[in-house]
């Protein structure tokens, strides 16, 4: 498999204008390290109203970033939620102020392992401290403070973004009016951890990874990262969706070649997914962010009882899952719903019928949009937003 060099480097993107918050105050991570000073990169859409009551924080998934509703600066692709967010859309930029920040440990401007460690003047690499979902949320809280927002109208996100949503609701309940965790889980299962470990091992098995010091050595573990992406990408889809799209169709040929070229369309597709991913993502970032997901276990932070995480919450919840999602299946989402019920919370839950797998949360699904739109409108009425 050939891996082309990136057309534009991540470093070039960092030099581009975009919103940046420089944090200089002490910031103690779960692992005990003080990360300060560090940077949070974020984008916003719409206008914050005078009461600062219409802010929605959208939390991105593992390989997402802050470019939610605008073309990606490296790939040029539409923002990851551009179908959902915009004027007159479900996340209506004429009504709400939408904030999306690159997570801690990320590689699109927020501090992560590819940045320069001020102590050494060299890229952090593996000396960057291990971060958690809780750390990501605490960093976002600094951003919300910085923007002068007392209570977020809504915190929303899918997959790892959903983990941040439930973490927000558990950690800062008085600052979250409504919460929408989508296609997510309150903890990473053994299977979730296992798939992440495959990805990490693929990266670390690439000789170009250089024990994590590839930036210092001027190399890049592109092959390892591409394989990690390929394996992960399969978990984002469903068997019927993959088969419908590709079946056993051959790639630009009439017969199999009796070799290991990409005979099948699905192989070619996965290789493309892997190759394009390395243009926009840092391999060490992938290690750190997958680790943050693996360490996530919200119940464990609350005496082993998930309901305790939401005790006395006033937040309105809407949990959404997808029938064909086997990465964060309905049962995991329902566990959050049951805990919220046990805590007496105001919760709605819907399982959307779709065969598009985990990725359905990024796609235009009519019932998903209708449910979410209805929920937000109902909440907006209670919040007095017009």
């Amino acid at each position: 498999m050939s891996v082309k060099q990136p057309t534009r480097s991540i470093e070039a993107e960092l030099a581009r204008p975009g919103h940046r918050l420089q944090v200089t105050q002490q910031f103690k991570l779960d692992c005990g390290v003080d990360l300060a000073p560090f940077t949070i990169a974020y984008q916003t859409y719409g206008q914050l109203n005078a009461k600062r009551s219409n802010a929605i924080l959208a939390c991105h998934a593992l390989t997402g970033d802050q470019y939610l509703a605008e073309p990606h600066p490296i790939t040029g692709n539409p923002g990851w939620w551009s179908t959902l967010c915009g004027p007159g859309k479900v996340l209506d930029t004429e009504r709400y102020f939408i904030i999306c920040a690159n997570v801690l440990g990320g590689c699109m401007g927020t501090s992560g392992p590819q940045d320069i460690d001020p102590a050494t003047g060299e890229p952090w690499g593996l000396s960057f401290p291990v971060i958690t979902i809780g750390d990501m949320v605490r960093a976002q809280r600094l951003l919300i403070d910085h923007l002068g927002i007392d209570t977020l109208f809504c915190v929303i996100g899918g997959s790892m973004g959903g983990m941040q949503v439930v973490q927000w609701a558990a950690m800062f309940p008085e600052r979250v009016f409504a919460a929408v965790p989508i296609a997510t889980a309150a903890r990473h299962s053994a299977q979730n951890i296992a798939f992440h470990e495959v990805g990490r091992q693929a990266i670390m098995a690439d000789p170009e990874w250089c024990g994590g010091a590839y930036l210092k050595k001027g190399s890049r573990p592109a092959r390892g990262l591409a394989v990690a992406r390929m394996a992960a990408h399969i978990t984002y889809l469903s068997e019927p969706a993959l088969h419908r799209k590709f079946g056993r169709n051959l790639q630009n040929r009439q017969a199999v070649t009796y070799g290991f070229d990409a005979d099948f369309q699905v192989e070619s597709y996965l290789r493309h997914q892997g190759i394009t991913f390395v243009d926009r993502f840092d391999a060490n970032s992938y290690l750190y962010i997958t680790r943050a997901c693996d360490y996530f276990d919200l119940a464990a932070e609350h005496g082993g009882v998930l309901a305790n995480a939401f005790r006395d919450t006033k937040t309105r919840f809407c949990v959404i899952s997808f029938t064909s999602d086997w990465l964060y299946p309905t049962a995991e989402n329902r566990a959050i719903v049951h805990a919220l019920n046990a805590a007496g919370a105001n919760v709605s839950f819907v399982e959307i019928a779709t065969d598009k797998g985990h990725d359905a949360f990024l796609l235009e699904e009519k019932e998903f949009f209708a449910t979410l739109g209805g929920f937000l409108t109902g909440c907006a009425e209670h919040r007095g937003l017009t």
Binding site: T323, R334, N341, A342, N346, S348, F349, A370, G378, C379
Partner: protein, 225 residues
């Protein structure tokens, strides 16, 4: 839970059309609503498109929650701002702590549950009171149908053939009263209804009600220990 997520579990109830926004609600739902104290906390299990919840919120300032199996029902509720979870009486009541609600309502759904005994126990546990309505299988027309035709009865309330019906645990009013007695449940109020949901002036505990009523509607409370 039915894996198809769209079973006709609540088909009986959904058979009576009304939208969450309509002002008129089914007469049996109106009778249920009359039993609910204003400003109370209510869980409506098998809430359909949310007609009762919307009515309770509007007319009685009730803090209502719903549970519904069908995706269309849940979507109708959530998109009208009603908090509803997709789930059913058999699988999703265990996690609620005791006395979470003032009323747990199960309307025209009991006969479609897998374990009605456990469901009723859960209703009076999570609600300080429970309101249950169900079709009476002891009604004379059903009895006559079986006696003279020898076929499984199909009535306006039980309108599906035996091979199609989601109703797997049908009971008579007498059966229900006996189960309440067995479970130590106090019947605080009871109404017998005709097929249109209009109340009869009959004592439900008497044998005549079991013969003449097409539906039973009960306000229950668990006996204090």
């Amino acid at each position: 839970m039915s894996p198809d997520g769209n079973s006709s579990r609540n088909g009986t109830r959904n058979g009576f059309r009304g939208t969450a926004l309509s002002v008129d609600i089914r007469s049996d739902l109106r009778l249920i609503a009359e039993m609910v104290t204003p400003g109370s906390r209510v869980l409506d299990i098998g809430c359909g498109d949310g007609a009762l919840l919307a009515h309770l919120a509007r007319a009685k300032q009730v803090d209502g929650r719903g549970m519904e199996l069908s995706q269309s029902g849940v979507n109708a509720c959530v998109s009208h701002g009603l908090p509803v979870i997709q789930g059913d009486a058999d699988g999703d009541l265990d996690d609620y702590p005791s006395d979470t609600f003032d009323y747990a309502i199960l309307s025209q759904t009991l006969q479609a549950t897998r374990n009605p005994r456990l469901v009723i126990g859960n209703l009076v546990r999570i609600g300080r009171r429970a309101i249950v309505s169900f079709p009476n299988f002891g009604h004379w027309r059903i009895r006559a149908n079986l006696l003279f035709n020898g076929r499984m009865p199909v009535t306006p309330l039980l309108n599906q053939a035996w091979y199609d019906t989601p109703n797997i645990h049908l009971c008579t009013i007498k059966d229900f009263v006996a189960l309440c007695l067995e479970l130590g449940i106090t019947i605080e109020r009871s109404l017998t209804l005709d097929r249109a949901g209009q109340p009869f002036a009959l004592d439900p505990v008497g044998g005549l009600a079991n013969l003449l009523a097409e539906q039973g509607l009960f306000l229950l409370r668990r006996r204090k220990n």
